[in-house]
């Protein structure tokens, strides 16, 4: 991957990350932390590919751990975030 392009992607992704949450209310800090925690659960995909390419038992073992942890990150992150956000069920305007 071209280093310069990677840098641009990095820069733009950082801007995007910063901007999309720049006006978050305090009350959402924890849910948002949890939500972004969920998003990086996509590491699961990396783990899967690593495991998929693993050949030695050591690689397989570590790969297995990677997938296991990644899946836990994704699944747990989702459930917890979802539960926290249930508090904000949009109230009907009377």
């Amino acid at each position: 991957m071209d280093g310069m392009l990677a840098l641009y992607i990095f820069m733009l992704a950082a801007f995007t990350g910063y901007e999309v949450i720049s006006r978050v209310p305090v009350i959402l800090h924890t849910p948002l932390m949890s939500g972004s925690n969920f998003v990086h659960g996509v590491v699961l995909v990396g783990g899967m590919i690593a495991l998929g390419q693993a050949e030695t038992p050591l690689e397989q073992a570590i790969g297995f751990v990677a997938v296991l942890l990644g899946a836990a990150n994704a699944a747990g992150g989702y459930v917890v975030t979802e539960r926290m956000l249930a508090m904000f069920k949009a109230k009907e305007k009377k």
Partner: protein, 457 residues
Amino acid sequence: MAIKWLIDASYFVAAILFILGLKGMSSPVSARKGIVWAGVGMVLATVVTFLTPGMNNFALMVIAIALGGAVAWISGKKVAMTDMPQMVAIYNGMGGGAAAAIAAVEFARGEMHGTVVTLLATLGALIGAVSFSGSVVAWAKLQGVMKKAFRLPAQNAVNIVLALVTVAVGGAIVIAPTVDPLLVVAFFVLALVLGTVITLPIGGADMPVVISLFNAFTGLAVGFEGFVMGIPALIIAGIVVGAAGTLLTQLMAKAMNRPISNILFVPMAAAGGGEAVEGEQKEVGAMDAAAMMRYASKVIIVPGYGMAVAGAQHKVWEMTELLEEAGVEVVFAIHPVAGRMPGHMNVLLAEAGVPYDKIFDLEEINGDFAQADVALVIGANDVVNPSARTDKSSPIYGMPILNADLAQNVIVVKRGKGTGYSGIENALFYKDNTRLLYGSAQQAIGEVIQHVKALSV
């Protein structure tokens, strides 16, 4: 080729969904939609990954996913609301661990191409491992598994030395032409220890900020491993979370009025006592006060002398109107001797234009506090002091008080630690369900108004 295309496209869509999801989650109005979008992105990315050409170990993969996913899902469902922060910590730690593990697999395969890639892999491994062990410690402390804050002598020096050594070992790996397994193992061990040592001395009150920091770390680590493996979806998701997490950490630290450096480096000195003293005055920001009321069904406002001093009556009424527009029932509870003369509150509320049918006196309203979601006490003190009910030695013993303390939540607006007319402390301010909104009432309610408006778009 078609499969490659499908996979790439799916990752692309997933990346977009992640960004939109985060964006959604930053407003209460769209927060739930946000997590769902992100969830869809996750499922999509995971499913298409199975299609990646040339992969093995599918059985292991499925088992790992099923196992990790199921355990996390169930524990996430079961955990009490109050234990959420530590759950976030532990899941986040797992993400960090996964990132580190990926790096480890790559090291094990010895397939690193070029310095940059090795550098990124190593960085990711370092950050991921620190985040992993640090998060586990954070979890343990919040969960009560680890009871006491634990501080090494010369903690900061130890931290720095340890960090330098770890980085040095990492540097050696990057520079070395081939991967030296010993070095790698040492590196991981050092990183894990580093995370532990950094986190150990941090007090419970500061934990959420630290967890958020580790969360940003994990994001970065995932992003770096994404570079290593050449999966843009990982890069984007990781870096976006890294950036968002960093900002969030700053915001959280700011909301707590503690610079991050303070939290990490002088935890015992400034915040040490935090956990020990029971019944602290817990602060709340205007935004959260606004959200608590905006999403309440019934709010009872208890004005007192402080509202008069601040001349906040107009603002209070404006806030009331906004809340009512949002469907919240708001009423005023006037204590017989609130203020400094009979009818003090009446004069002011009338001036602000509060209709008489929203104003109730003690006898009419005292039964309603238990049904109120929020009691908003504005510059009142003695008239909501529960010691009047029980403490015979109190100078206000025997005076009937407004039962603000029975409300689900109590928000008290006052400028600082000032007492009321009778000059005594007020146990209400230390109650579990009480939050203090500091500031002169005029200005504090003004801020609340702004946030209520922002929430009512």
